[in-house]
Amino acid sequence: MSTTNKEIGPPVIELGVMGWLRKNLFSNWYNSLLTISGLYLLYILIPPLVNWIFLDANFVGSTRDDCTNEGACWIFIQQNIKLIFYGLYPTEELWRVNFVYLILLISGIYLLIPNLKRKGWVGAFLLIIFPIICVVMLSGGLGLEAVETRLWGGLFLTLVIAGVGIVLSLPIGVMLALGRRSKLPVVSLLCTIFIEIWRGVPLITVLFMASNMFPLFMPEGVNFDKLIRALIGVMFFSAAYLAEVVRGGLQAMPKGQYEASQAVGLTYWRMMALVILPQSLKMVIPAIIGSFIAIFKDTTLVLVIGLFDFLGIIQFVGTNPDWLGFSHEGYVFAAAVFWVFCYAMSWYSQRLEKKLDTGR
């Protein structure tokens, strides 16, 4: 009988791949059963999907007759790509849209690269000068040929609506949130009513209202473009949601922050701009980006008032007699594009959340 002090390792079955499998997938009989049914589910879903999207799909050709394989007919997307990305925007003017994309891309990359200086200036440029460039470049003026908004469409229109909605609704939302928390009863009541009305109704009725009621509100002769009406609707709608998010951040601020800034003699606006808002907005960044994702997804609704956004145009090209019967391809493509955008936003928000998690 030798008593050794040699450490006895865990049984082989608890180590490495086997151990992991045993612990996470087959720890007892019903877990094994669950694993097997999960595997079966994946087996009936994944292979046919991969076959349809990639292996059996048609990528080369120019008409529907070229789609000879069993799988998806991506030629459909390929042939309509201009419509899907730009709508009816005149082909010879497309460089203008691309130019705007390019500016956005460059400044976006600049903002994403860590440790670069003067990010504030780039941000200010994006928020103040860039919108002016957009209006001139996209709709015409200063020697550029005018392009009516009814020709705008596709992914481009979706980005315009979402972009305008996001950029304009944030300041309005912040003002509404401050108004709702104001000590002045009239201001607070008005802001509360405004917020609750917009939040209580579906976006689709807001858009119906924008397209049917706004013309009645305006004096004679003033006629807003359909796109602008939709933009106003989307803007107020998302501002109300953002206001509630921002209010959450304001409420989470410790009272001492308010008292301290008052003690050093800051006025209300300085206190808000320099002390309270920077901290409370930082706290709710994930929720704000969540609202942005919701706005982005909700832009698809503009098709009910006759604007051809990304989804609307895909629905529209599917009704082209030359390409009937390819709705699956259209929807899968649209879903993939939307998913990439939304997932990228939520990924970025998680990253930002980790980065901004200072102190505390």
Binding site: V187, L216, E220
Partner: protein, 392 residues
């Protein structure tokens, strides 16, 4: 002089005076804006020959609706079409909420599973579904799936009683024969008695500590009453199965494809949000609670029932109702696939015919607004009753 100046100064810089001043300005601006809009609207409406008011509600609508839960024909009034639309909205919201809850809770619990594969499948479900616009999902189920189904003759069937084809989903209908009302009343009575048993059992347990199997007793009571009364009245409740007659199905309940697609998409989409709510709620119950419950010797199912679920529900219920409300509001997307809900019937067809934009949009928005405010009222009451003493 100097005292006068300082008096004026202290008047101008007085907080409450300033506040009143700002409020007056705000109120004035808002009133001006409203006045501007109202006068413009009045003039515009006069020019278009539109009479304001709700007289149009009593006028014959002269349009038909594809799916109605109450008697409706083109000779019915606009008010009837409003009710039809409202009921259709509530129907789709009700079914949607039921299925979204079932799927959402399942997926949410799956995400917390110790089984790696199951947790990952649930995560994939959530991440895919909630990042794709709802309208796109509705279009997918409607145009790409349901419209592409075979004709009635080649329907997909289940147990010879459920049929799915491009005309919709056909399910058996329950037929209540003579005497079924007695069963219904008896059932109501037993349910009331069971509630009484629960209250009595709880009081007795609080007083004496003795437990009473209230659940089993009342379940046995309800079931036995149901079966005995069924047998006594000679089984008056029967099912009517859909049958293929000619080119379409007769009998049973027909669910139009728009309804099926809309409910399906709404339930799947909202379930991905509910799953996150459920996961968050369960994770919010601290681990110490489970450990403490184990150490006082509670069994696993009792720990779940008495410790985890009540605490998790406190966290889950408010955001869950919010999701229910979202689902109800999102059901207005029905307009895009022509399911006759409130928005399509009333804010669409009726608005087009009468041109009464303000009244109609106002009524539709009012319905949704009422639903949201009512829900938040209930939620506030709920939060008040569920609040733990000493909590902020």
């Amino acid at each position: 002089m100097e005292t006068d100046k300082s008096k004026i100064g202290s008047f101008i810089f007085n907080r409450s005076v300033q506040g009143a001043f700002y409020q007056l300005i705000t109120l004035g601006l808002v009133a001006l804006g409203i006045y501007y809009i109202v006068t413009n609207t009045a003039r515009n409406m006069m020019e278009r020959g539109l009479a304001s008011g709700f007289h149009f509600l009593g006028v014959e609508s002269q349009f038909d609706i594809g799916m109605t839960l109450i008697e409706y024909s083109p000779t019915s009034t606009y008010f009837d079409s409003f009710i039809v639309g409202l009921l259709n909205t509530l129907l789709v919201a009700g079914i949607g909420i039921l299925f979204a809850t079932i799927i959402g809770f399942t997926v949410g619990i799956m995400r917390l599973s110790s089984n790696w594969l199951i947790a990952k499948i649930a995560e994939a479900y959530v991440e895919i579904l909630r990042n794709i616009p709802l309208l796109l999902q509705i279009f997918f189920w409607y145009f790409a799936v349901l419209r592409a189904l075979p004709k009635p003759k080649q329907s997909l069937e289940l147990y010879d009683s459920f049929f799915l084809n491009n005309r919709g989903l056909f399910i058996p209908d329950t037929v209540f024969g003579e005497g079924s009302s007695i069963i219904f009343y008896l059932l109501c009575l037993t349910i009331i008695i069971s509630i009484g048993i629960f209250i009595w059992a709880k009081r007795r347990q609080n007083r004496t500590g003795e437990r009473f199997p209230a659940f089993y007793v009342s379940a046995a009571l309800i079931l036995s009453t149901f079966i005995i009364s069924l047998a006594a009245t000679g089984f008056p409740v029967s099912f009517e199965y859909p049958e293929l007659k000619g080119f379409n199905f007769k009998g049973g309940v027909k669910l139009i494809p728009e309804l099926v697609a809309l409910t399906f998409a709404l339930a799947m989409y909202t379930a991905s949000f509910i799953a996150e709510v459920v996961r968050g709620g369960i994770m919010a119950v601290s681990k110490g609670q489970t450990e403490a419950a184990k150490s006082v010797g509670l069994k696993q199912n009792l720990i779940l029932r008495l410790i985890i679920i009540p605490q998790a529900l406190r966290v889950i219920v408010p955001p869950l109702t919010n999701q229910y409300l979202n689902l109800t509001k999102n059901s207005s997307l029905a307009a895009a696939i022509a399911y006759p809900d409130l928005v399509l019937v009333f804010a669409g067809t009726a608005l087009m015919q009468t041109g009464q934009a303000i009244e109609i949009i106002g009524m539709v928005m009012g319905v949704y607004l009422f639903l949201s405010l009512f829900t938040s009222l209930i939620m506030n009451l709920f939060n008040r009753t569920m609040k733990v003493d000493g909590e902020r």
